[in-house]
Amino acid sequence: MSGGLSFATRLSGVLAVMLLLGCGLAAGLNYLKFERMLLEQQARVLEILAGELGSTVENSLALGVRLAGVPGAQALLERSRAAEPLIGGLTIADADGVVLFDTDRQNLGTSLPQQRFEALARQEAWRFRIGADYGIGAPIVNGFGQPEGAVLLRYDRSAVDERLAAALLAMVQATLLALAIAVPLGALALHLVTRRTRRWFAAVEEAMQPGAPPAPLAAGLQAAIGEADGVLRDAEGRLEEIAAEVPEELPEGPQTETLERAMT
């Protein structure tokens, strides 16, 4: 199939593929970096919120209240969730993972998997992931520096996905526009820069046709053909002249054998 394509077309094809690859790589790699940065930025913001909730609960603990009895904790979680649309749910659990307060009241009293609390001992905020949901944990530490429990903030990435989709759309549009201009322009430019070589190929091809007019680009080839043609034409003329004359006696011997050899 590709055997019939001219070399300029093949070059245009390679250029188009490389343009697609270059633009695709630039857009794709930027997108992946962008996705990571956006997710990181979203998590940073939510980490601040989780940390602030943790601090509020710690203030109550400092007054001598037990974690399970912090006044207004349930309302605080529900208010925080309503104020920030990114938050999917909020939980306050004790160090054993028992849910004490939750924006989803059905979860109250249930136990959370221990792996969500693995980072609690480090007394720093941590991140976790459950299926499509992302989460942030903020430790609640009492006045003696002992971890009492944690605030767990759940969120999904739908807000990030919206921004990512907008960025992706912009990149795809730019890529398509770049390709729509660069590919035909490239084909045209390659067609122009290969003109001389294509002419040479065409001239050589033409020069090999019987009765071809003189072609300066294939002068060497035409000279070689012309010389051979002249020699053969001369020989043909001479042989036809000989054939038209009276046959001579052919002695048996090497000359007859030479003729037979020539025939084979």
Partner: protein, 683 residues
């Protein structure tokens, strides 16, 4: 080339340059445009997230201050504000400043670096019911939230987030885009060169060769089939032309038999035979695209291999779970280099027995398996074994390509042809290392190894389709030890190895890979800046390879070029003697790149000539010993430089390495000169 077809009139003259120029221009514009759009939309979409962060921090501060106001503390009676704002600022990374201003926009308390261009919110400005007023203040995103006393705005709390975080991310992305662009440009140049060689340059060369034979009266030739594009049509027409002429000759013979005057007719045929030859040759004229056909597979293979260069030690540490230490990080590199060294002589035997094409296909199998193994590795040992398998493949593939290029090199262009080997390796290395780091950053180590395996598989397909079979050595192989003895018995080979090949790799490993990054870090450069400085080596080496190859072919003085390059390298490393380190280090890297580039092709080009000497081993064997010696230099270089560094510091190490380069280069030059004088005397 016929007399009427001088090189200046050649139809493909500068075609590669023009085609590559078009590709470079369009790719740069297109990738630049796409990247610009991507970065713009990136900034556009990230800005609200940064502003949200400033708003959230601001709302925490406002809640506290508003509580005090609600309890009846007057705005101008608030105390401890500087401390409070400082604590608010210190609790979060990335904040530029926190400012409390009054209703007229005058600053009451501040913490952090407030930009000179900062202006408070004007008196009477409407306060938002919820959220913050967002503005750009200098280089910061400013979120201002109102404080109210009896429903009236009495002040504003401003939280500024420095744009530096976004700028730094944008800078990172710009560098990544530049790397992508560089890689795509170099890869495109390789692909275009490959296609042009197969569809234009080689067919034109073939047509001109055939034309020369036709001009000499040889009408027995046949153009090769299987070519596409214009070249294929020209080949078909040429074969038809030859067939037509042969038919005319057959007719003449027939006419002669019909003639009654056999003696005279025979005389006519003899006249024709004296000037023209007819018949069908048993062997087709070759296309002669061999040398260039090896560049693209080699480029792709090295590209695949070098994808993991930037993260091999990190991946090793990860697999070791922090237990392996520095030795664990180095283990996969050591096993790879050791396998390359051990398998290079064996690879030469494979090439000699099976020919470059089959050897390449054989070598690609362990390389691909090694990448799969590395992608699936679960511990350090498995990873190290996988890298060793990759090393075995690398040894066979590189030696096969070198032999192929040496076999296919046109007379008088050996250095340029073999320079193509070093250029393809360097281009592949620059591209692979650069894009490998970016890929690993985005998709992870294992996927990058999987991608490397796919590239190796693609290379195999290309070799299978594009490489001509054959090329195995007809000479009887001597065996490894006899070959080694015979090779090193030739003084010119021994001198080349001891005074040029090994010192060059000692400098490469010791200075470029070990010392330069350490010294640059000592100067306070960032990791990215260190990487860019070290990359100068490869970027300077690439054009120097072409210049060195051209000079060697043109002058025939490869030895002199090698010695000169060694002197240049020595002088470059001695630069700290005369200029300050900040300038001397990049200049030394550039000097090393140029010097090693200049010497690369002449060093390889000496081998085919030496292998033709009596009792010398095959070209493949000699090349393998040269490669082995280079590996030895690469292994010795870093620890030697480390020992020197421990003894006397970085500058001392540079000076010693420079002196070593100068001494070995001068030694090599003198030995060559003596050899020449002795040869002259003997003659």
């Amino acid at each position: 080339m016929t007399p009427d077809q001088s090189p200046d009139q050649s139809p493909d003259r500068s075609l590669v340059g023009r085609v590559v120029a078009v590709a470079v221009l369009l790719l740069t514009l297109a990738v630049g445009f796409v990247s610009h759009s991507a970065l713009r939309s990136f900034e556009q979409e990230l800005r609200p997230e940064l502003e949200r962060e400033a708003t959230v921090v601001g709302s925490i501060g406002v809640q506290t201050l508003q509580r005090a106001l609600d309890l009846g503390v007057p705005f101008h009676g608030l105390s401890g504000l500087d401390d409070y704002l400082a604590s608010l600022l210190g609790a979060r990374e990335g904040l530029a400043y926190v400012v409390l201003s009054d209703a007229a926009g005058r600053g009451v308390a501040t913490a952090g670096q407030v930009p000179a261009a900062f202006a408070g919110i004007d008196a009477g400005s409407a306060a938002p019911d919820r959220g913050a007023v967002m503005r750009l203040q200098g280089n910061s995103y400013d979120a201002a939230q109102p404080l109210r006393e009896a429903g009236r705005v009495v002040g504003w709390l401003h939280v500024g987030i420095a744009r530096a975080r976004v700028d730094s991310a944008l800078d990172d992305m710009r560098w990544d885009v530049l790397i992508v662009l560089l890689v795509v440009l170099l890869a495109t140049a390789e692909f275009l060169r490959f296609i042009l060689a197969r569809t234009v340059s080689a067919p034109i060369g073939m047509v001109l060769r055939l034309q020369g034979r036709l001009a000499q009266g040889d009408w027995t030739l046949r153009a090769p089939g299987g070519m596409g594009a214009e070249a294929g049509r020209v080949a078909r027409h040429l074969n038809v032309l030859v067939r037509r002429m042969n038919d005319r000759w057959d007719r003449l013979c027939w006419l002669a038999t019909q003639s009654g005057a056999a003696r005279r007719a025979n005389g006519v045929l003899d006249d024709v035979r004296q000037r023209l030859r007819f018949g069908v040759a048993s062997v087709q004229e070759g296309l002669g695209a061999g040398a260039s056909s090896a560049r693209l597979p080699l480029f792709l293979f090295v590209f695949a291999e070098q994808l993991s260069t930037s993260f091999n030690p990190i991946y090793a540490l990860e697999l070791a779970g922090g237990q392996g230490g520095v030795m664990g990080a180095a283990l996969p590199i050591v096993t790879f280099v050791a396998a390359v060294a051990l398998f290079t002589p064996w690879g030469a035997g494979v090439v000699a027995r099976h020919g470059p094409r089959d050897a390449l296909l054989i070598g690609l199998v362990p390389a691909a398996l090694g990448h799969v193994g590395a992608a699936l590795a679960t511990d350090l040992t498995t990873f190290a074994i996988a890298r060793a398998i990759c090393g075995a493949g690398y040894a066979i593939v590189t030696i096969a390509c070198q032999v192929h290029l040496a076999q296919e090199a046109p007379r008088g262009r050996v250095a340029r042809s073999l320079g193509g080997f070093t250029a393809a390796v360097m281009t592949g290395a620059v591209c692979g290392t650069a894009i490998g780091a970016v890929l690993a950053d985005r998709v992870g180590f294992r996927f990058t190894f999987a991608f490397a395996m796919l590239l190796v598989a693609g290379t195999g397909l290309l070799v299978w389709r594009a490489f001509a079979a054959g090329g195995s050595s007809e000479r009887k192989e001597m065996g490894l030890w006899r070959s080694a003895r015979a090779a090193f018995a030739e003084p010119r080979f021994a001198l080349l190895v001891i005074f040029a090949a090994i010192p060059a790799k000692v400098l490469l490993g010791g200075f470029i890979f070990f010392l330069a990054p350490l010294e640059l870090r000592e100067l306070g450069l960032s990791q990215a800046a260190i990487g860019r400085n070290v990359m100068l080596y490869g970027l300077c080496m690439l054009p120097a390879i072409l210049v060195g190859a051209w000079l060697a072919d043109r002058s025939g003085r490869g030895g002199l070029i090698i010695a000169g390059a060694g002197v240049l390298n020595g002088v470059a490393l001695l630069l700290p003697l005369w200029i300050d380190r900040e300038t001397a280090l990049p200049l030394a890297i550039i000097g090393t790149g140029i010097a090693q580039g200049l010497a690369a092709a002449p060093m390889l080009a000496i081998i085919p000539g030496l292998s033709l000497l009596r009792n010398a081993p095959s070209s493949a064997a000699m090349l393998s010993f040269l490669r082995l010696a280079e590996r030895f230099g690469s292994v010795v270089g870093p620890p030697a430089a480390a020992a020197l560094f421990a003894l006397g510091g970085g500058q001392h190490t540079m000076l010693v390495l420079g002196a070593l380069s100068l001494a070995t280069a001068l030694g090599y030059g003198l030995a060559l000169a003596f050899g020449r004088i002795r040869q002259g005397a003997a003659a």
